[in-house]
């Protein structure tokens, strides 16, 4: 589809050699009845354009607009909020919550990624050995991914309850003092990280497992004949050959983890005392967590998240292009 859509855009003059020059990779477009083809091209383009504008461009524009105006409830309803430039961003940067929220976001994302990837990879290698019931077990590992987030987060929150949770009951049984998983400022972030790792492992497992399928078995046989042990085979064959898949898994995981909201909100509401507040929960807290919504600063925090995700999205696109070229 790409060449048909490009032709009407790029053609500087009704000269076909010029069009071919603009898109050399594309085969020359059919010369007969160009107009009907153009119509078709536009018609095919319209739904996706409309969709993108309605559901991506406009909300994004509104969010940027929200973050640049001083919205009160009154001006939100009447639509006459004064333009205040970057004032909302300054408010957000000066807020005492900013530094802890940034730190929590970075720690949450980094720790989750490392563990999700490491555990996912270990399980993928494990299941790649095709033992009995491996398919069944692998399917079971997908359960966290299939459960609705509200279910898994509520379940975690029950299990980690200070007084009646099963985790503390087990700790008690083995003689360890109970831990206030969700209600102590030093544990709340760790608790939501643990829950999020559990939820993220299946994604890593599935993608990395499918990556492993594409590594030819002959390589392992040859390495084994040359006397390479399993550890050596992993580091010299599996890991390097899995690199492209790993890169994409990590980048996608990063974008997903950055915007995790549900789990944290259901388990701790970002608390206690903001000890598990990330940008995602902070943005929601500002915009909707209070009877008097602060839409401007809430949108500003949301935009910071969008920018961060965008940066990594670009990195992802770059990596993908590099892979396509190589």
């Amino acid at each position: 589809m790409s060449h048909t859509t490009r032709v009407p855009h790029r053609r500087p003059a009704p000269d076909h050699s010029g069009a071919a020059g603009a898109a050399p990779a594309a085969p020359p477009p059919a010369r007969r009845r160009p107009s009907s083809q153009q119509w078709a091209a536009w018609a095919f383009l319209t739904p996706v354009t409309l969709y993108l504008v309605l559901f991506y461009a406009y909300p994004l524009y509104r969010n940027i607009d929200l973050s640049l105006r001083n919205y009160t409830v009154r001006s939100f309803v009447q639509g006459d909020a004064p333009f205040t430039g970057l004032q909302n961003y300054r408010t957000v940067f000066d807020d005492p919550t900013f530094a802890p929220a940034l730190l929590h976001t970075v720690v949450f994302t980094a720790v989750c990624l490392v563990f999700q990837y490491a555990i996912g990879l270990a399980l993928a290698v494990f299941f790649n050995q095709h033992f009995r019931l491996s398919a069944t077990l692998r399917a079971l590992f997908l359960v966290p991914w299939l459960l609705p987030l509200i279910v898994s987060a509520s379940t975690w929150s029950w299990m980690l309850n200070s007084d009646s949770g099963i985790v503390n009951a087990v700790l008690h049984a083995v003689g360890v003092d109970p831990v206030n998983w969700l209600t102590s400022p030093s544990w709340s972030l760790i608790s939501v990280i643990i829950a999020n790792i559990w939820i993220g492992v299946p994604f890593n497992l599935v993608v990395l497992y499918s990556g492993l399928q594409s590594i030819p078995a002959g390589l392992y046989e040859a390495a084994a004949l040359d006397g390479a042990g399993p550890w050596r085979r992993f580091w010299s064959i599996t890991f390097p050959l899995l690199r492209p898949v790993s890169a994409i898994t990590l980048l996608l995981g990063l974008v997903y983890t950055l915007k995790v909201f549900d789990i944290i909100w259901i388990m701790t509401k970002g608390g206690p005392a903001e000890s598990s507040t990330t940008f995602a929960t902070w943005s929601y807290q500002l915009g909707f967590g209070n009877l008097l919504p602060a839409f401007g600063p809430g949108a500003a925090v949301g935009n910071l998240l969008v920018v961060a995700a965008l940066v990594f999205g670009l990195v992802y696109a770059r990596v993908q292009r590099k892979q396509a070229l190589s």
Binding site: S36, G270, G271
Partner: protein
């Protein structure tokens, strides 16, 4: 794609165009469908925060009956209560407000500030019979923006069996020291003391307020010594193990579930749990939250207001007024408040409720001495104060700050 025959290509293009056109019209009709502005088509919209009532419930039947009486059709939507304020603001932004809005009382001042609601001067709601302390939550700057449909408030439920085993006479619980002493006895007897909700949302502030006001503190001064004493009381209970650490994450519902296990002596909870209390299967009693030095603390009022959002077509108000009059008529209010397990907003109906169910007596008394969160003309200042208050409660109870430091920080954040 180049291999497509011309005819097929044209068909595809035509189909796509058709699809786009239909989806565009679908969007168009969708937005007018949810709207209320389709001239006067005889359909009036009502939004309420009672999603638990489905079609066929007494509440929905009442709405339909009132509609039929006024000669119009009712289109009712039940929202989650925490969603309703934002949904209403968005609807008002698009000039798409419902004709009648039933909304949680502390939200009324925010919506009034936004210019979303009509005053009782404009919508001719009769509020003359309503208890003034309940009506105050809907008053901003000398104007009234609705009328309460019912009220609820907080009190202490107690488990008679647990108290008896611990040797506590509930009549001795008159102030904070005697309550703490009772908790200590319960703890010694191997049972659990008290449960409440100190979660980091409006619910947490709602539950803290009886103690806050009971200490003599004022919402305009969060860091007063009285306020510190209220927070220290809670903190002391947690430190000594009289209250579980899970209160930090408890909603009022989870706190109630803890009490319903039968292990707890006391639970701070609301009128709406009465039905659940009867089902819990143990003997319970209710006592008002004591103030620090004896007597009853003022508890915050809960419950919803009937309001009339501003319409661009002012001709709709006449019918809306008929609907509100019907909804707030004595018999209908009585029925509604019985369904919701609320205390009625007028003395006349309150007496009727107590006559029918003597168990409501302590609740009616509690509601009469209760206080609106946005009262004292706090209005839209309340949400900010409340947010800082629940944060301070969370900081202090989780041990990240002392009660005094937490409240000082809260007061300086409110400014």
């Amino acid at each position: 794609m180049n291999s497509f025959s011309r005819g097929r290509r044209l068909t595809a293009a035509a189909l796509t165009a058709l699809a786009v056109a239909t989806s565009a019209t679908a969007c168009g009709s969708g937005s007018t469908g949810t709207g209320t502005k389709a001239a006067d088509d005889g359909t009036y919209t009502i939004w309420d925060p009672y999603p638990q009532f489905a079609k066929g419930s007494a509440w929905v039947k009442l709405l339909d009956a009132c509609g039929a009486k006024a000669g119009v059709k009712i289109k009712r939507t039940g929202f989650d209560t925490s969603d309703l304020a934002n949904k209403t603001l968005l609807a008002a932004q698009q000039d798409n407000s419902p004709d009648l809005l039933i909304v949680d009382n502390p939200v009324v001042s925010t919506l009034a500030e936004a210019g979303v609601l009509t005053t009782t001067d404009e919508n001719k709601l009769d509020t003359s019979k309503v208890d003034p302390n309940l009506l105050a939550a809907g008053q901003v700057g000398g104007k009234t923006y609705g009328t309460p449909i019912g009220a609820n408030t907080l009190a202490l439920y107690y488990n008679k069996k647990v108290l008896k085993e611990a040797g506590v006479d509930v009549a001795s619980v008159k102030d904070w020291p005697s309550l703490t002493a009772a908790l200590a006895k319960v703890e010694k007897a191997g049972k659990k003391g008290i449960t409440f909700s100190a979660i980091g949302t409006e619910e947490g502030s709602f539950q803290f307020l009886p103690w806050f006001w009971g200490s003599g503190a004022k919402l305009t001064e969060l860091d007063s010594p009285a306020a510190v004493s209220a927070l220290s009381l809670w903190k002391g209970w947690l430190d000594k193990g009289y209250a579980p650490n899970s209160v930090l994450n408890n909603t009022q519902t989870t706190s109630w579930q803890e009490f319903a296990t039968g292990d707890y002596a006391f639970a701070e909870n609301g009128t709406w749990q009465l039905a659940g209390a009867k089902k819990a299967g143990f003997d319970y009693g209710v006592l008002p939250v004591p103030a620090s030095g004896g007597g009853n603390a003022a508890a915050p009022t809960g419950g919803e207001f009937v309001t009339v959002p501003v319409q661009s077509d002012t001709g709709r108000y006449t019918t809306t007024q008929k609907l509100t009059t019907c909804l707030t008529s004595t018999q209908n209010l009585y029925d509604t408040d019985t369904t919701l397990s609320y205390v009625a907003p007028t003395t006349e109906i309150q007496d009727k409720q107590v006559a029918a169910d003597p168990e409501l007596k302590p609740w009616v008394e509690a509601v009469r001495s209760a206080k609106g969160r946005t009262s004292d003309d706090l209005g839209t200042k309340y949400p900010k104060i409340s947010e800082q208050m629940w944060k301070a409660v969370q900081s202090a109870l989780s041990g990240s700050k002392s009660p005094k430091d937490a409240l000082t920080a809260a007061q300086s954040a409110v400014k």
